[in-house]
């Protein structure tokens, strides 16, 4: 039987506010346990939450970025459950009236195929604390620093049909939130966490199969692998006459498998009700328009502009707009050198090669975009040839000079375009290579094209790489073919 996979995702994005969603405690990562958990975060008697305007602004910006409706009124509710890292006994969240309504996100697949994924809604909520289960003689240790950190939970429709689409979707969400600057998007530190809903159904069937929810998958790669494992598990189960049960599963990256956590019916009774401590949040159109005015150019728009007004290929436009630091770097190089195609080649080629090899993020690149732009300019105006350009790049990378111009000067890399000088070098090479010259002249003219490479190499070597290769080629041909 042919099976179809159906995937929906809940992505929790930690918002980059300074303080918590309902209190003035810091959200900084990595503090000593419980030093950033105040009376409100601890749910001590008599405290009242007050909503953080920064979190509201970020949620609204996200909503605008996905063309979602922003309702005038939204409400906070209590989601009730008991767990030691949830001191109040409920999580303040939103359900009936979330801050962001229906929207959509465009994803781009490997073959440049585009697909729209509908967003059901996005809502604000608070994070819980952390439980540590080791080392406390049969006790669990609780750190509540994270309790009350603002999260935006983005809930998609079940619109994805493969693990690849799910990954493309998460990458798109990651790009949007980091472009907006509303989250650092750091999956390793838990700033983005995904719950993946997976089901399978016979191809052509309308109704959805029973889904399993895989909790807390925390990297792009694990999302893909968790889904692939889960799909296979469900298909095998059904084909062996079994039934998928609705349950929460956990992905174990070490074993590369998902495991059942608990069946859902019981745990799912969260008894939501409106939080009496928080009044309805009203956002007027002036506020929403004010937020709209702060939006930067978004990844999809940037990608489109790179293709249409800069004339880059779809692939180049996709790579260069994939993250905001990458796009900003590229645009800064372009601003200096003025040639989009060359700027794109250098950023994706030499620069990305070096960055990947040494595992450095582009925002920490030892070569600044101004330096790279200066280098590309010297290639464009023929001051240096491609070979010398690579030397200049290496020197900039190793901090052996302030600018391309300085390195070109001190190392004498300026391209030799003086015909007389090049001819002198050619004459010398011809005089030094009687055997090769004889072979060349005896050869079939069709084979000479290949044989000339030897002489070009010798002349370039004699010029220490600075001769203009096109000129060398042309002059060599003339001189060798003369006799």
């Amino acid at each position: 039987m042919q099976w179809e996979t159906v995937i929906g995702l809940e992505v929790h994005v930690q918002l980059a506010t300074q303080s918590k969603i309902f209190s003035g405690a810091s959200t900084a990562f990595g503090a000593e346990p419980n030093t950033q958990a105040c009376a409100i975060d601890l749910g001590l008697p008599g405290v009242l939450p007050v909503l953080n305007e920064g979190a509201v602004a970020m949620a609204v910006q996200f909503g605008l970025a996905i063309n979602a409706e922003i309702p005038e009124t939204s409400l906070f509710e209590r989601k009730n459950y008991f767990y030691p890292d949830l001191p109040k006994g409920y999580q303040t969240s939103q359900m009936a009236q979330p801050i962001v309504g229906k929207g959509e996100v465009e994803i781009v697949l490997d073959d440049e195929v585009r697909k729209r994924i509908r967003i059901h809604h996005a809502h604000l909520e608070e994070d819980a604390g952390k439980s540590l289960h080791e080392d406390f003689h049969g006790m669990s240790g609780i750190d509540l620093n994270r309790a009350g950190t603002p999260l935006l939970e983005i809930v998609s429709e079940p619109d994805m049909r493969s693990a690849k689409e799910a990954v493309a979707y998460i990458r798109a969400i990651h790009a949007i939130v980091t472009y907006l600057g509303i989250s650092d998007g750091n999956m390793a530190e838990g700033s983005m966490r995904c719950d993946v809903n997976v089901s399978v159904r016979p191809k052509g069937q309308e109704t959805l199969g029973t889904r399993a929810e895989i909790k807390n998958v925390n990297s792009f790669r694990f999302v893909e692998r968790a889904i692939e494992f889960e799909v296979e598990r469900q298909i095998e189960l059904i084909e062996d006459g079994g039934k998928v049960v609705q349950e929460t599963r956990l992905y174990d990256p070490d074993q590369d498998e998902t495991r059942s956590m608990r069946t859902k019916e019981e745990a799912n009774d969260y008894r939501y009700f409106p939080c009496p401590d928080l009044l309805p949040v009203m956002l007027d159109s002036a506020y929403i328009e004010h937020q709209r005015a702060t939006l930067p150019e978004l990844p999809t728009e940037k990608r489109h502009r790179f293709e249409t007004s800069l004339g880059l290929s779809a692939y180049d436009a996709g790579v260069l707009s994939s993250t905001r630091p990458m796009a900003e770097y590229f645009e800064a190089v372009l601003a200096v050198c003025g040639d989009a195609k060359q700027a794109a080649n250098w950023v994706q080629g030499e620069l990305s090669g070096h960055l990947n090899r040494e595992n450095i993020d582009i925002s920490n690149s030892p070569v600044t975009p101004e330096q790279l732009g200066g280098l590309v300019s010297r290639v464009l105006d023929d001051t240096i040839n491609g070979k010398a350009a690579k030397q200049v790049f290496a020197a900039l990378w190793n901090n052996e000079g302030q600018s391309a111009d300085e390195i070109i000067d001190t190392r004498g890399l300026k391209q030799v375009t003086d015909t007389g000088a090049i001819e002198a070098m050619i004459d010398q090479v011809i005089a030094d290579s009687p055997v090769q010259v004889a072979q060349y002249r005896d050869a079939d003219p069709e084979k000479r094209g290949k044989m000339i490479g030897y002489f070009v190499g010798q002349v370039m070597k004699a010029s220490r790489g600075t001769a203009n290769p096109q000129q060398v080629n042309g002059l060599l041909k003339q001189k060798l073919d003369e006799a």
């Binding site: 303080s19 346990p33 601890l42 007050v50 049969g138 669990s140 009044l279 949040v281």
Partner: protein
């Protein structure tokens, strides 16, 4: 809507309330049944065209600027905790 013994046990479990005896549970069956009767009477009122009320106060949520205003008071908060270690609150072990 009638409430049954099993409903009371389930509600008690969700709220982590300990019931000491069947008699105690039976008492709740009676109390909750009467409360639900009152709710039924409220439900009977025609509310068509009336927006749901989420909060009795006719006002909206005030927002605070995104600033850190709290300082570390861990020692004070942990003074009343039954057990702590290395800055953590200790609780009976929980493992999913």
């Amino acid at each position: 809507m009638a409430i049954e013994h099993a409903d009371v046990l389930r509600a008690a479990h969700l709220a982590r309330l300990g019931l000491n005896s069947d008699a105690e549970a039976a008492g709740y069956v009676d109390d909750l049944t009467r409360i639900l009767e009152m709710v039924d009477r409220l439900q009977a009122v025609d509310t068509n065209g009336i927006a749901p009320l989420s909060h009795p106060l006719d006002t909206t949520q005030r927002l605070r600027p995104d600033e850190v205003t709290e300082t570390n008071q861990r020692d004070a908060f942990q003074a009343c905790a039954p057990e702590t270690a290395e800055g953590l609150y200790l609780v009976p072990r929980v493992v999913e």
